[in-house]
């Protein structure tokens, strides 16, 4: 296992309330960052931590903000009112308090909100009982399970193989400058290949991974939400 992955696992183990070493969204994002996958700039606040706007500025956070409940126990944040979007500087303090009162014992994640064009994608990893880790790319977002527009390969997969995966999607014509939308297909393929390497490097300990959505913003693919499930 790579050194920086080992360090990541160590950081999980040192989390005080996390005996089961379950990674939350903030941890999961740190993991994909190791593989050069970009995530919005953000800061995680512990439950007892008080909100301080000065702290936000100094952490390179700027409005509009996104506030998210940050816990490995919550599967669907949106349904539990655990996500607040488009928060400006003036209202951030109150909104932060609202979140803390909704989830008194959970961490809160404050992030820069990402501006993006074009559709949302999903990149995921599962462990097939017979064949091991498989990587998926698909039309993402909250409706991903309705679209079922996905394609799979075994991990690790090359950039060329990832290009084939994208080509298999119903949504793939979006990369042909559809209605003026400009998306970098090769960069998405590189990201897919990187995620597959991550799964391959971690090996058996990784059970599942979802990056959903991943969006194209200012020339880069940004993972807006990342979920990692480790084997128990």
């Amino acid at each position: 296992m790579k050194d920086n992955i080992r360090i990541w696992f160590d950081s999980l183990a040192s989390k005080k309330d996390s005996i089961e070493k379950k990674p939350d969204e903030f941890d999961a994002k740190k993991l994909v960052n190791i593989y050069s996958i970009k995530t919005p700039y953000g800061k995680r606040f512990a439950p007892e931590e008080t909100f301080n706007i000065g702290k936000l500025d100094s952490e390179k956070l700027s409005p509009p903000y996104v506030l998210k409940v940050c816990s490995s126990d919550i599967l669907h944040k949106t349904e539990m009112q655990g996500v607040l979007l488009n928060i400006d500087k003036e209202s951030v303090k109150n909104n932060f308090k609202t979140m803390q009162s909704r989830f008194p014992d959970k961490d809160i994640l404050v992030e820069n909100q990402t501006d993006f064009m074009g559709p949302e994608f999903i990149i995921g990893i599962i462990k097939d009982p017979a064949l091991g880790h498989a990587i998926m790319v698909g039309a993402g977002g909250v409706l991903t399970e309705i679209y079922k527009d996905t394609s799979f390969r075994l991990a690790p997969c090359s950039v060329n193989e990832a290009m084939d995966m994208i080509d298999e999607l119903v949504i793939s014509p979006i990369f042909e400058n559809f209605r003026g939308i400009v998306l970098d297909k090769k960069k998405l393929a590189r990201t897919i290949s990187q995620v597959s390497k991550l799964a391959h490097d971690i090996g058996d300990e990784l059970s599942q991974l979802d990056i959903n959505p991943i969006v194209f913003s200012k020339g880069e693919w940004i993972a807006l939400d990342v979920k990692v499930v480790l084997e128990k």
Binding site: I126, L131, A134, T150
Partner: protein
């Protein structure tokens, strides 16, 4: 000799012992023994209750066999099989085909018996095919141990497809089907329960076998999945690998807490994995035979632009629909014919011939018109594949067309696939076309699908070639 090389003696044995050979024509031991009579191999029946079978002196026990037997075919019950294998090992017999069922597929008692076979295979330098194996059939080698009726007589010699099947009945039906319409079988291997030899061993073996140019597998579970895929990828650079994978395994329970887990299903993973590793996937026995047939007869397709030549307008239109239908396996497109091609076809046929693709030379056409039109299409650089819709309706179009098309195909570097129907004689027409070297199918959909297999094959070769 490594394990794979040693399979030569399993598939082409000189001396064969049949344990449980019988005078009864109903018993498996009786059927298998009689099948082998035509093999021109030395046969050694073993059965304490028999003295002579079909003129062959019967050995009363295994210990009285000579020391240089290549293959023992065990046709007795599951429980008795174990003891027989143990005795055969003492006689240094290396290869076994175990026919009996009643092993792991029936539960605990059977699992115990099968584990014993696994132990024997692991402890000794032996190869066991089965148990619950349908047997082997290599037409060129005159070896046939399959105890149920199959279309052996109708299968062509010099066949080049190796079929490795896990299930007996699917295998036999595929054989029968293939035989009816012409099919070149190099080898048929019934894997059965795979206590020792499995698909990877035979993938290795037939990849090296010079007489094989296409491998087809029917599998319900893939042992050592990653190893199989890796090897298939290496093999498919040289020879097409077709897999019919039946049975969908459940996704692990742990995988349902993510979107990906919900979207996966093992079938999607298999689909992706097969594409990644250069395997061409099929979904039933008909498709299995259709794919292996065309892939063993034609090397691939230079591109995906299809020209359709027909004497029956309706089928031309239908064919166009099938070609333009979206298909993830391989996209096909209707070729744009050059002005020169259109002129040549008109000159060869009628001034009213519809020369836009599909080319409809009408029911008034004769063999010569069909032939010259085919020439024009083969010569058109905008055409990669030709589908001929040939209905043998004398006096215009006759069965002479078979030889005409065959001659042209031999000279052409573009694949030509034929769709034909001839009422109750359809199978026979297709078989005659096969013997002339032409891949033909009895429906528009299957002819077009065959074209897709060729395009898919070329895509795989290109993709795997790029990665070296």
């Amino acid at each position: 000799m490594d394990k794979i090389e040693s399979l030569q003696n399993l598939l082409d044995p000189k001396k064969i012992a049949v344990i449980g050979a019988s005078n009864s024509k109903e018993k498996v031991g009786g059927i298998v023994f009689r099948r082998l009579l035509g093999s021109r191999r030395r046969l050694f029946p073993v059965n304490p209750k028999e003295t002579v079978i079909e003129g062959h002196k019967v050995n009363s026990d295994i210990s009285s066999l000579p020391d240089d037997i290549d293959l023992a075919i065990i046709t007795i019950s599951a429980k008795a099989s174990i003891q027989s294998v143990e005795s055969c090992i003492k006689k240094n017999i290396q290869n076994y085909i175990i026919v009996a069922g009643g092993f792991a597929e029936v539960g605990d008692v059977g699992i115990e018996l099968e584990n014993r076979l696994k132990e024997l295979a692991a402890e000794h330098n032996i190869n066991i095919l089965g148990p619950n194996s349908l047997g082997i059939f290599l037409p060129d080698e005159n070896i046939d141990t399959i105890f149920v009726e199959h279309g052996d007589k109708a299968l062509d010699r010099n066949g080049r497809v190796a079929c490795i099947v896990q299930s007996g009945s699917v295998g036999v039906e595929a054989l029968g089907y293939a035989a009816n319409t012409g099919f070149g079988m190099r080898a048929f291997v019934g894997l059965g329960n795979k206590c020792d030899l499995d698909e990877i061993d035979f993938l290795h073996y037939f990849a090296r076998d010079e007489k094989t140019n296409c491998l087809g597998f029917y599998l319900e579970n893939i042992e050592r999945g990653r190893d199989f895929l890796q090897l298939a990828k290496a093999v498919s650079k040289e020879k097409p690998v077709v897999v019919l994978k039946a049975g969908r395994t459940k996704t692990a329970v742990s995988a349902v807490s993510s979107h990906t887990g919900k979207l996966a299903g093992s079938d999607n993973v298999i689909n992706g994995a097969f594409r990644q590793f250069g395997i061409q996937r099929v979904f039933d026995d008909e498709e299995f035979c259709d794919a292996t047939k065309v892939l063993s007869m034609l090397p691939g397709a230079p591109g995906n632009r299809v020209a359709v030549l027909t004497a029956a307008g309706g089928y031309g239109v239908m064919c166009t629909d099938f070609i333009e239908k979206e298909d993830k396996r391989a996209a096909l497109t209707m070729a744009m014919l050059s002005e020169n091609t259109k002129k040549n076809i008109k000159d060869a046929t009628f001034s009213f011939t519809a020369c836009e693709n599909p080319v409809d030379i009408t029911a008034s056409a004769d063999d010569m018109m069909f032939s010259l039109s085919l020439d024009a299409l083969i010569e058109d650089s905008g055409v990669d594949i030709i589908i001929c819709i040939a209905f043998f309706a004398p006096p215009g179009i006759t069965e002479n067309l078979i030889d005409i098309i065959a001659q042209k195909i031999k000279k052409s570097d573009k694949p030509v696939i034929v769709f034909t129907k001839y009422g109750p004689f359809t199978d026979n027409s297709i078989k005659n076309l096969y013997y002339a070297g032409v891949a033909a199918y009895p429906s528009v959909g299957r002819a077009v699908r065959a074209a897709r297999f060729l395009v898919e094959r070329t895509k795989i070769k290109k993709r795997l070639g790029l990665e070296i």
